[in-house]
C-alpha cells in the first residue's frame, strides 16, 4: 500500500504522506521503505524544490510507530532503527533541492525531525498544528537527529526546554522561536513555498546563544537545567525511574560543538540504550491504555450528541465543584450553583486561581462561569453535575428539585465517591438520565473519571457521559455501581495498611518517603491529610460496612477526627499545613498514636528504634499488596471488566507511577509463590484470580 508518494510537477517534487490504513501518518517500516525508494529517485534527478506535505486532515506526521519502539528488545537493533531514520533525514538535508516541510496538523517526534531536515518549515496556522518532540514522555529522546537539528534551528535554550519537557508549540509560537520559517494561512501554502524557494538553500545556521560555546557557561547552564528538571521528581531515584532524563541531558551537553556525524552517532547509541529500558516499555503501554479509555466505544457513540452541548450547571462550589466547573468551562458555559454567598465566593476564588497561570488570567474562560445563588438559568442546561454534600437525602432532593426546571433530555450526573447511583434513582422520574461521574481530586489535574451506571441508567446516558468526559480531555472508565466504585475501594485498604504501619512504630515521614520514592505523587499519610481525615473516616466506615473483608479505620484515627484534626483543611492532621504547603509532623500526634508518643519520650528515638524500622521494600509491599488484593477482588466482582482498564485507572486516577506500567503490571514481575506468601503474611486471603497477572508480564 502506498503511504508516501512522490509527485513531480514542473520544478517541484512533492513527498506526499497519505495512508488509508491508519487515522494518522506514522513513520513505520512501510513508510521508511517507501521513503528510501523515493529518495533514490530524487537523488538521481534532484528537483529544484522539494515539498513534504500530508494529505491527512489535522496531521502532518504523528511520529515514529510506537509499536515498533515497543517491540524492540535489543539495544543494537534499536540503534540501527535510529540510524536508519537518521540517514533518511540526512539524505533529505543534503539534496541540492530547496526542501520545505508544509506542516498542517500534528507534527510530532519523528515527524518534526523529518521536517527539521528540510531547509524550511512552513507552519500552517490552525488549531491542530502542533509541533513537538514528545519522546521524553515515552522514556526516550529524539533519535532521528532531532537533538542535533533542533538546537540549530531554535537555539539551545529553547531546544533543551522543548526536548526535556516534550511540550508542543503551535504555529504562531513556532514562527516566533524560529522553528518555522513562516506561519501561513492554509490558503497561502503555494505562496509560502515560492517565497521560501526564492530564498534558496540554507547554507549555515548561527550557533545560538554564543556564550554556550564557552565551557564554563555550558557547565553552569546544564547544571541549572538538571536542577530544574529534577525539581519535579525530587523524591524519585531518577536514574532508575526515568533514565531518559539524565541520558538526554548528558547527550545534549556532550554534542554541543560536535560535528554532525559524530553527534548523530552518539544520539543513536544513546537511544538504543534507552529504548530497551522497562521504563520506555511501560510508558508506551500507559500511553496506549489512556488512549484506549479515551477512544472507547461508549465515548465514540456519545460524541456527536455531546458536541452540541452548550451549558452545564454544577451544584456545590467546594473544591471539587469548583474544579469540575473549571474543567467544564473548557467546552461550555457553566453555572456554578451554591446555597450561600460565602462558600460560592470561596469557590470562585479557587477558580480564579485555576484561571491564573504565570500571572495571566484566562478571563475569557473565567467569564464563562456564572456564580448562581438561585435556581435561575436551568431552562437550557445540557448537563447538571452535582458535587454537594455526600448525603443520599440531599442528592435525591436535588434531583427532584432540578428535575422541575431542566429540559427532559438533560444529563444528571452525580460526583459521588461512595453513594449508590441506583439508590439515587429510586423513585425519581428522571432516573434513566441519572449517572455517576466521579472526578478525582484535584479535578483539573487528575485525568481519570469513573463513570457509573445505576440500575435504571440507559446506555444512551452512559455513552454521553463517557463522551462528555472525553471531550474535556479526561479518561472515562465505566465501573459498576458498587460501594466505593473502583479507586476509592482499592485506596482504602492501602491507606489502612499505612495507618497500621504507624501503629507498629513506623514513622509517618518514613512511610510517606518510601511511597514517594516508589513513585506515588504523595504518601498515603499525606493523602489522608489532603483528602480530609473526616472524609477518609466516612468512606472507610462505609466500605467496612459494605464489605466484610475490609478493615475499618483504627480507633485512634477516629479520635483524631473527633478532635478536629482533619488534615489540610483544618491546618493540622498528621502533618501541619500552612497555605496548602505541608510542614512538619503534627506534634499533637503522640496524644492519639501510642507508638508516636513512645518515640518522643526516648530522645534518641532514631537510634533506639532503628531495630524495628522496616525496609523500603517491606513498606511498599505492606501498603500496595492490600491494594492489589482488593483490585483483584474488584475484577472478580466485575466492578470493572477489562483488567487493562484497571491498570490505566490506577495511573490516571491516583497517579500510580507510570514508569511502573500500572498496578497489575508492577506485581506481575513478582514471583507468584513469593507473592502468595507475602499476601498471606499480611493476613489477607489470596485471591483466586491471581493468574490474571500472567497476562501482564
Amino acid at each position: 500500500m502506498n503511504v508516501v508518494s512522490l509527485i513531480r510537477e514542473a520544478n517541484i517534487a512533492r513527498l506526499h504522506f497519505e495512508r488509508s490504513d491508519k487515522p494518522v501518518n506514522v513513520l513505520d517500516d512501510a513508510c521508511i521503505v517507501q521513503m528510501e525508494a523515493h529518495l533514490e529517485a530524487l537523488e538521481a534527478e534532484p528537483p529544484e524544490i522539494l515539498v513534504l506535505d500530508s494529505g491527512m486532515a489535522g496531521c502532518f506526521i504523528a511520529g515514529a510507530d510506537l509499536d515498533m519502539i515497543a517491540a524492540v528488545t535489543d539495544e543494537k537493533k534499536a540503534t540501527q532503527l535510529a540510524e536508519r531514520g537518521q540517514s533518511l533525514c540526512r539524505r533529505i538535508e543534503v539534496l541540492p533541492s530547496v526542501s520545505i516541510a508544509l506542516v498542517h496538523g500534528a507534527c510530532m517526534g519523528g515527524g518534526l525531525e523529518m521536517a527539521l531536515a528540510c531547509d524550511y518549515i512552513v507552519a500552517v496556522d490552525d488549531k491542530r498544528t502542533q509541533l513537538a518532540l514528545p519522546e521524553i514522555k515515552i522514556g526516550i529522546h529524539p533519535g532521528f537527529g532531532g537533538c542535533v537539528r533542533l538546537p540549530k534551528r531554535v537555539g539551545w535554550i529553547q531546544a533543551v526546554e522543548m526536548i526535556l519537557s516534550g511540550r508542543a508549540v503551535d504555529a504562531k509560537r513556532a514562527r516566533r522561536i524560529g522553528l518555522a520559517a513562516l506561519c501561513s494561512k492554509p490558503e497561502q501554502q503555494d505562496d509560502a513555498v515560492s517565497y521560501l524557494a526564492a530564498k534558496g538553500k540554507v547554507k549555515t545556521r548561527k550557533f545560538n546563544p554564543w556564550w554556550l560555546k564557552l565551557w564554563p557557561a555550558r557547565v553552569l547552564f546544564f547544571q541549572q537545567v538538571e536542577k530544574k528538571t529534577y525539581a519535579r521528581l525530587k523524591h524519585l531515584d531518577v536514574e532508575a525511574a526515568y533514565p531518559a532524563i539524565p541520558a538526554t541531558i548528558a547527550l545534549l551537553q556532550e554534542i554541543i560543538g560536535m560535528s554532525d556525524g559524530q553527534a548523530l552517532a552518539r544520539e543513536a547509541e544513546s537511544l538504543g540504550r534507552l529504548a530497551v529500558t522497562p521504563t520506555c516499555k511501560n510508558l508506551i503501554r500507559v500511553f496506549h491504555l489512556g488512549d484506549a479509555l479515551k477512544k472507547q466505544d461508549a465515548a465514540k457513540r456519545g460524541r456527536k450528541a455531546v458536541a452540541g452541548f452548550k451549558k452545564a450547571a454544577v451544584y456545590g462550589a467546594g473544591v471539587m465543584g469548583g474544579g469540575i466547573a473549571w474543567v467544564a468551562s473548557k467546552t461550555m458555559d457553566v453555572d456554578l450553583h451554591e446555597v450561600d454567598a460565602e462558600p460560592l465566593a470561596r469557590g470562585m476564588r479557587g477558580i480564579g486561581r485555576l484561571a491564573t497561570r504565570r500571572g495571566r488570567t484566562d478571563s475569557k474562560r473565567l467569564n464563562r462561569i456564572r456564580p448562581v445563588l438561585d435556581s435561575s438559568g436551568l431552562s437550557d442546561v445540557d448537563v447538571v453535575i452535582e458535587a454537594v454534600l455526600e448525603d443520599i437525602k440531599v442528592k435525591r432532593k436535588l434531583w427532584a428539585e432540578v428535575g422541575k426546571y431542566v429540559p427532559t433530555e438533560t444529563l444528571l450526573l452525580s460526583n459521588t465517591s461512595s453513594l449508590s447511583i441506583s439508590d439515587m434513582q429510586h423513585r425519581r422520574a428522571n432516573a434513566e438520565r441519572i449517572a455517576g461521574m466521579h472526578f478525582f481530586n484535584p479535578a483539573p489535574k487528575m485525568p481519570l473519571v469513573e463513570v457509573i451506571a445505576g440500575e435504571k441508567t440507559t446506555d444512551n446516558t452512559l455513552d454521553k457521559t463517557c463522551a462528555l468526559a472525553a471531550s474535556w480531555g479526561k479518561y472515562p472508565i465505566i465501573v459498576a455501581d458498587r460501594p466505593g466504585f473502583l479507586i476509592n475501594r482499592c485506596l482504602m485498604p492501602y491507606m489502612v495498611a499505612a495507618l497500621n504501619l504507624l501503629e507498629t512504630g513506623q514513622k509517618p515521614e518514613h512511610v510517606d518517603g518510601v511511597l514517594k520514592r516508589f513513585g506515588m505523587p504523595m504518601g498515603a499519610i499525606e493523602l489522608a491529610d489532603r483528602v480530609g481525615l473526616d472524609i477518609c473516616h466516612h468512606v472507610g466506615a462505609h466500605l467496612a460496612e459494605a464489605f466484610e473483608h475490609q478493615q475499618a479505620m483504627p480507633g485512634w484515627f477516629d479520635r483524631m477526627v473527633e478532635a478536629g484534626l482533619l488534615g489540610e483543611k483544618s491546618g493540622k492532621g498528621f502533618f501541619v499545613y500552612e497555605k496548602g504547603k505541608q510542614g512538619v509532623l503534627n506534634p499533637e500526634l503522640g496524644t492519639y498514636l501510642p507508638s508516636a508518643r513512645v518515640k518522643e519520650q526516648e530522645f534518641d528515638a532514631d537510634m533506639a528504634a532503628s531495630a524495628d524500622v522496616m525496609t523500603a521494600a517491606d513498606i511498599e509491599d505492606a501498603c500496595l499488596i492490600p491494594m492489589l488484593v482488593e483490585a483483584l477482588q474488584c475484577l472478580s466482582e466485575q466492578v470493572v471488566e477489562d483488567p487493562l482498564h484497571l491498570d490505566a485507572a490506577f495511573v490516571y486516577g491516583i497517579g500510580f507511577p507510570p514508569f511502573r506500567g500500572g498496578l497489575l503490571r508492577h506485581f506481575a514481575s513478582y514471583d507468584e509463590s513469593a507473592l502468595t506468601q507475602k499476601i498471606e503474611a499480611l493476613g489477607l486471603i489470596t485471591p483466586d484470580n491471581l493468574e490474571v497477572l500472567h497476562e501482564f508480564q
Binding site: 458555559d333 480564579g352 467569564n367 456564572r370 448562581v372 431552562s379 437550557d380
Partner: protein
Amino acid sequence: MATRSKRQHKTDVAIVAGIRTPLGKASGVFDQLNVVDLGVLSVREVLARSPVSRDDIDQVIIGNVIQPSEAANVARVIALTAGVPRRVPAHTVHRNCASGMQAITDAAEKIQLGRADVVLAGGVESMTHAPLLFHDRFRAAMAKLSRARTVQQKLPVLMEIAKAPWKPRIALLEGLTDPTVGLGMGQTAEVLAREFGISRREQDEFSVQSHHRAATSWDEGWFDDEVMHVFAPPSFAVVHRDEGIRAEQSLEALAKLKPVFDKPLGSVTAGNSSQITDGAAMLILASREKAEAEGWPVMGYLHDWAYAGCDPARMGLGPVFATQRLLLSAGMSVSDLARVEINEAFAAQVLACLKAMDSDAFANKYLGIGKAVGAPAMDILNVHGGAVAFGHPVGMTGARLVLTLLRQLRDDTGGGLAVGTLCIGGGQGGAVLIGSEPAGGES
C-alpha cells in the same frame, strides 16, 4: 409631537426582564472589572433569569459614555463575549448621561417600527477605567517620529517629544466638562444653586434623605431582585449591596465637607453630588405580541419618551423640559403619576428642577405654557434613594431608572404610571413614561 395621533397605533413595547449589577465606587470593588466584564456579567444574568433565550434576541443596543479604546463598539464586544449569537447585530449609543435610556428608547423604536421583536438593551459604565491621555502636542510629536527616517531627522523630533507636556490628561474630568460653555458638571449645579437660591443645608438634607431611603430599602430586601450578586476579582468576595450607600450619613458630617466645584464659596460638595461609580443594567424589551405569544412574564410597558434641549450651563434643568414635553404629548399631568425618578446628578440640581416645575414664571418664560407642570411630591419621588447614595455610572443610569420604576410600579404601588427623567451633560433632558398596563385601547 405632531406624530402623536399616529403613535397611538404603534405596537406596545413590553419589558420582560431586567437586572443590574450593584454599583461599585470608582477604584473600589469593581477595580478589576472593566466595561466589557461588567456588561457580560449583566447580559449573562438577565438571559439566565428570564425565559428569553439568546436565540430569541434580534438586536443588542447598549449605552456607554467612556467608550474603551480596546473595545470599540463595546456593545458588540459584550454581546459576543456573553454568548449572544453572532448573527445578532449590536451597536453602542451615546447621549452622555442618558446613554442607557437612549439604548432603551432606541430599542423601543425598533420594536414599534417592526424592525425587531426582541431587543436586549441597557447601559454599562466603568468610570474606574476612564483612561489617562497624552497632550495633543505629545501625540503630534510621536506621529512625526514615526515619519522621521534618519538620525538627523529623528533628533529634533526627539527634542520636541522631550519638550511636549508629559502630564497625563484625565479623561474622566474632561468628559465631565462641557466644552461649549467651559463648565464642569458640578459648576452647572452651582449655577442652579445660586439662581434658584438653594441653600447648602437644603442640599445636604436631601442627600441624607437619599442615603437613608437607599439604606432602608436595602435593609428591607427591596433591592434583592433588582440587583444581582457579583463575585468580583481578585478576592471574589460577594458584592450585592451598592457600595456607596452610607446608612449612618448625618447632616453634621455632610456639613463638614468643603465645596469642590466653586471654592470656597460654593455649596456643591462631594457629599451632595452623585458618586463616581461602575455598574451595568440590562433589560430585555419585546413587542407585546411576541411576549404574549411566548408566554413571557411582562414587568411593564414603555409608553412614551421625550428628549429636550436646554442651556448647557443649566443642563441640570433638563428633566423639567423633557418631562413637560413628555406629559404634554401624553396629555397627562404630574398628578397622574404614581412614581417619579429624577436622577440625582446633584442634590442642588434635583431641588432646582422641583422649584422650576412648580414655578408659573418659569413655565411661562421657558416652556411657553401659562401654568407650571407641577412638581412631584417627595413621597413619590426617588422613593428608594438615588444617585447621591448609589452613584451615577453615567452611561448606565438611564437603564437603572427604567428598571427601578418597573419594579416600583409592580411591587410598591400595585400598578399605575411613572416617569423617569434625568439631566444630560451638554444641556439636554430625557424622560420616559412607564406603565404597568399596556397603553389603553390598543391591540
